[in-house]
């Protein structure tokens, strides 16, 4: 059936279009079957009903009234329906066309509008630029106007000044003119007066007597020689003045030159000390040349040191070299400055970062050092405080007070001890000496007495009346005495010794001079012994000498002797 096939095609297409709003009831049958058609011989009725529903939904008259009338299609209705659908479709197409046309139109409008906006924007840009240009011009013109106004003001001021100047000059001229006129008038008057005056008062000088010249010399005639002399003197004055001035300038020059040399030396030394640190700079400057020039300069200096730089070239060289050095120093300082500033701002290059870090390290180290020092000082302070304020016991205080000198003190103590011991020994020896001396003196005395008695005895023996008893008695006495003395002395010796000992504190002042005496006596004693057999009188004299030589000491001796004798006596008693 070709009609059905076309219907099928249409239906299939419409089914394709409306797959989604499919009615629920039994439309699965109306789907495209395996052959791809909407309607087949079995589902005609359903198709019909479906189509009628659709048509009615479109608002068209349904093609058939009821499905029960049979499977016959109302062809007219169907054709009307088809025609209506076609019209509908046509209408749809037309509206589509219209809409497309509309869309095209609107698109073209949009394009047009876009174009116009871009154009307008460009125009706006251009006009803005023009505006700024104009504003700029206006500003410049205003500046120009201001400057011109200033110029005008200045010119006006100058004009005013010049007018003032002219006015003052004019007043000055007028004043001068008036003055001259007044003087002229006076002159005229005077002239008139003189013409009128008959008596002309002449000039005259009336001096009592001529006075001598100030320098006492005679005045000389005015001759050419004098004139020449005057000229000569004048030139001499001038020359001497120039001489002094030249000398002064020379001295000044020498000073300045010295200063320049010194400056140069300093600068060279500064720059050379920086040479190892700033080798890069040297390369910058084309270093070898600079170095050689420096060396040249130095060599130049050393050679010319003694010779003064009198010639112009040498002077120029000096000034040039100084300028060069100064420039170098300046550039170096500038570089340092820039380095510092760049380090500060933080724009660090690799080379610059290093010094910064080292700088920071240095800072840290210094800070640490400061801290340490502070701690140290703190500790010291604390200790000092403790020392001053803490109440410690007497012992520890006394110990601590001299703790620094302990060793020395101990040593000193030891030395003292040894000294003491030595002194004691010495004293003992001295005492022994004195005792021996005393003993000796006693023995001597006894011996003397013995001798005296023996001599007496001899003498008496010589004489017819001799008493045998007495001398023997005396002898024996003396002997006894001596022996007694010796015995007693021996006996008393320990006592004496003891007594001496006990009396030693008192006798100390006595013992010391006595040692001197001791030596004397010891000296004297051999004298005595030598002179003994010769003379009695000598002995007596000697004894008197002995007695009289040192009266003070003798007293002391006596004192001792008395004491010892008394002691003996006491002891004996």
């Amino acid at each position: 059936m070709p009609e059905s096939s076309t219907v099928k095609d249409v239906l299939s297409s419409s089914v394709e279009c409306r797959t989604s709003p499919l009615r629920r009831f039994s439309l699965s049958a109306l789907h495209r079957n395996s052959l791809g058609v909407f309607c087949s011989e079995d589902n005609v009725q359903e198709c019909l009903s479906h189509i009628s529903q659709e048509v009615s939904s479109f608002g068209l008259r349904p093609a058939w009234t009821e499905p029960g009338s049979g499977s016959e299609l109302n062809i007219v209705a169907a054709l009307n329906c088809m025609y209506d659908l076609i019209q509908l479709h046509r209408r749809g197409l037309r509206t589509l066309e219209n809409m497309e046309v509309e869309q095209l139109k609107s698109n073209s409008n949009v394009d047009f509008l876009q174009l116009s906006t871009t154009r307008l924007k460009e125009q706006l840009e251009i006009s803005k630029r023009e505006n700024t240009g104009l504003l700029e011009r206006e500003r410049q013109l205003q500046l120009k106007v201001k400057s011109l106004q200033n110029c005008l003001k200045n010119e006006k001021e100058e004009v005013q000044k010049l007018q003032n100047v002219i006015a003052s000059r004019a007043s000055q001229y007028n004043h001068e003119m008036k003055r001259k006129e007044r003087e002229f008038n006076k002159l005229k008057e005077r002239l008139n007066q003189l013409l009128v005056d008959k008596k002309e008062k002449k000039q005259a000088i009336d001096v009592l007597n001529n006075i001598g010249r100030a320098d006492g010399k005679r005045s000389l005639w005015k001759t050419e020689k004098m004139e020449a002399k005057h000229e000569g003197e004048m030139y001499k004055t001038l020359l001497s003045d120039y001489d002094t001035r030249q000398r002064e300038l020379q001295l000044e020059n020498a000073e300045l030159r010295k200063v320049l040399q010194q400056m140069k030396k300093d600068m060279v030394s500064i720059l050379s000390s920086r040479k190892p640190a700033a080798k890069g700079d040297k390369h910058e400057h084309g270093g070898t040349q600079a170095a050689s020039e420096e060396e040249d300069d130095e060599a130049f200096d050393s050679s010319k040191e003694s010779v003064e730089l009198y010639c112009v070239h040498a002077r120029e060289k000096l000034t040039n070299s100084i300028r060069l050095q100064w420039r170098r120093l300046k550039s170096h300082v500038e570089r340092l400055d820039s380095q510092v500033s760049s380090a500060q701002t933080g724009e660090s290059k690799s080379t610059d970062a290093v010094p910064r870090e080292t700088h920071e390290e240095e800072m840290d180290r210094l800070k640490l050092e400061i801290q340490q020092c502070k701690d140290f000082i703190q500790a010291q302070q604390q200790l000092l405080q403790q020392q001053l304020s803490s109440p410690c016991d007497e012992e520890t205080a006394s110990l601590l007070s001299d703790c620094y000198m302990l060793q020395e003190k101990e040593r000193l103590g030891d030395e003292w001890k040894t000294l003491e011991e030595q002194r004691k020994i010495f004293e003992r020896e001295r005492r022994n000496f004195t005792e021996a001396a005393i003993r000796l003196s006693h023995e001597r005395k006894a011996f003397e007495e013995d001798r005296a008695t023996w001599l007496k005895h001899q003498f008496l023996n010589l004489s017819p009346f001799s008493d045998s008893k007495k001398p023997s008695l005396s002898k024996s006495k003396s002997a006894f005495l001596i022996s007694a003395e010796t015995d007693s002395s021996a006996a008393v010796a320990p006592e004496k010794f003891i007594k001496h000992r006990s009396e030693s504190p008192r006798c100390v002042p006595l013992t010391s001079p006595s040692t001197a005496d001791l030596y004397r006596t010891l000296c004297l004693i051999p004298e005595d012994s030598s002179t003994k057999p010769k003379r009695k009188t000598e002995h007596v004299e000697e004894s008197s000498v002995f007695c009289g030589n040192a009266p003070v000491r003798h007293k002391r001796w006596d004192g001792i002797q008395d004491r010892t004798l008394s002691q003996e006596k006491n002891s004996s008693i």
Binding site: R169, S171, K201, Q203, I205, V207, K222, M226, L238
Partner: protein, 449 residues
């Protein structure tokens, strides 16, 4: 500081002899010569008329008394009081009279500056110098007394004549490049002559002793120019004071300006000390001193004053001069170097109460002294850097680098100090009032502030 009693004088004529031993004063017709230390009258001379000008000769043996209205000059001798000398200029009149440096010649300038007559007291001979110029300073003697420079005006041109004072031989005669020469001055070493033009043109010319032009200096054109010129005693500097209130210093080697000193009305930004005179008013109505005051006469009116140091900025009172008048009271009219050339004292005419002291070593302002009244006169001590000034009142002011002091002149009847002169030894000052004079003996110790 001791003050002598007050003596009479007329015409501000009071001069100490060059050797410093005598003081000559003119009282009306009389010439009184006193001993400086004792102030006893040694000689008394009577002149024929009121003395207009009095001058000692250089050897302190003679005194010249000129009477301009009579055209007479009388010379008196100290050694021989009865020696007399009278020079009569006759009908030609007399305008100025002065000694020559040797003390044996008198130069009289006749009226109208017709000529200068050189009278010799040794030979009674007369010489004439024609066409001397009538200007501010037309004649100057060199310091050693050997040469005299004289300004001449001939055929509307200025010339300078250099004479040898020995025999008045004309050594040099040359034309100067000035419009209207106003003055000339020898440098202290006698080798350079400074010549300056009138105030209408700023021009200073420096001539060597033999007449060669060494240099010309002109600071500006058209405005009023040089008002005063002064050499430093060492001949190193030439100070030029001008109407533009500035002092320009030239150096003797290049004759170029090395610095200029300005005198602004407001002093700021300087290391100088500004001393301002402040009056100490005595308490009015105090019970302690009424009787004393009455007996003391005018001491009530003699207010004590002292110096105060003002902090910067300081404003100096300025008096604007009348622009229509000639020679306006503006500009540096007085320049004075101290004897060691270390300081320069200046006075600006429109700031008449202030004296400016400049340090020549540092080339800067050292001190400014502001007085209560216009400064009349100031002079440096001949030996020390000490400046004495007076302001027309009863006080004497002294400045030294150590400080400033104001001393009341203890006289009855109010002695207004108009001018002062130092004694050549620097030990005493002669204060001149209107009709009186007084000597002030300085202590040798330093003064304090």
């Amino acid at each position: 500081m001791n003050f002598s009693e007050v003596f009479k004088q007329t015409n501000q004529l009071c001069k100490v002899s060059p050797d410093g031993k005598y003081l000559a004063t003119c009282v009306q017709y009389r010439l009184v010569v006193r001993d400086v230390s004792t102030l006893q009258i040694l000689q008394l001379y009577t002149c024929l008329d009121q003395v207009s000008h009095m001058e000692w000769s250089s050897d302190s043996l003679f005194i010249l008394c000129a009477m301009y209205n009579r055209g007479l000059v009388q010379v008196w001798s100290l050694e021989q009081p009865d020696w007399h000398c009278k020079i009569d200029e006759g009908s030609i009149g007399l305008v100025s009279s002065r000694w020559s440096p040797d003390g044996r010649h008198i130069l009289n300038t006749t009226e109208f500056h017709l000529r200068v007559t050189v009278w010799s007291l040794c030979t009674k001979a007369v010489s004439y110098i024609k066409y001397p110029k009538a200007c501010q300073k037309g004649i100057d003697f060199s310091r050693d007394g050997r040469y005299m420079a004289l300004a001449e005006r001939r055929d509307c041109k200025d010339y300078v004549c250099v004479f040898v004072c020995d025999d008045w031989h004309l050594l040099r005669h040359f034309e100067t490049e000035t419009q209207d020469l106003a003055g000339l001055e020898w440098s202290p070493n006698g080798c350079v002559l400074a010549v300056w033009d009138s105030c209408l043109e700023y021009k200073v010319l420096l001539y060597s002793l033999d007449g060669r032009l060494l240099s010309t200096y002109s600071a500006y054109e058209w405005s009023l120019g040089v008002k005063s010129v002064s050499w430093s005693p060492s001949s190193q500097f030439l100070a030029i004071g001008s109407y533009d209130e500035k002092v320009r210093i030239l150096n003797h080697i290049t004759w170029k300006k090395i610095t200029q000193f300005e005198h602004p009305a407001i002093i700021d930004n300087t290391k100088a000390t500004v001393y301002k005179e402040a009056e100490k008013r005595p308490g009015v109505g105090s019970d302690e001193m009424p009787l004393h005051n009455i007996t003391m006469g005018a001491t009530l009116f003699n207010t004590q004053s002292k110096y105060e140091i003002c902090p910067l900025p300081v404003q100096i009172p300025v008096v604007k001069p009348d622009p229509d008048r000639a020679s306006p009271k503006i500009g540096i009219s007085v320049l004075a170097f101290s004897s060691d050339s270390r300081y320069l004292a200046t006075k600006n005419d429109n700031m008449a109460t202030a004296v400016w002291v400049w340090d020549m070593q540092k080339m800067s302002l050292e001190a400014v002294l502001e007085q209560t009244s216009a400064v009349r006169c100031f002079q440096w001590d001949p030996l020390r850097p000490r400046l004495a000034l007076c302001a027309g009142n009863t006080k004497l002011y002294l400045w030294s680098p150590g400080g400033c002091v104001s001393v009341q002149v203890p006289t009855e009847g109010g002695f207004q100090v108009q001018s002062l002169n130092w004694h050549c030894s620097g030990d005493s000052l002669i204060l001149l009032g209107k009709e009186q004079l007084c000597l002030c003996y300085m202590d040798t110790d330093q003064e304090d502030k």
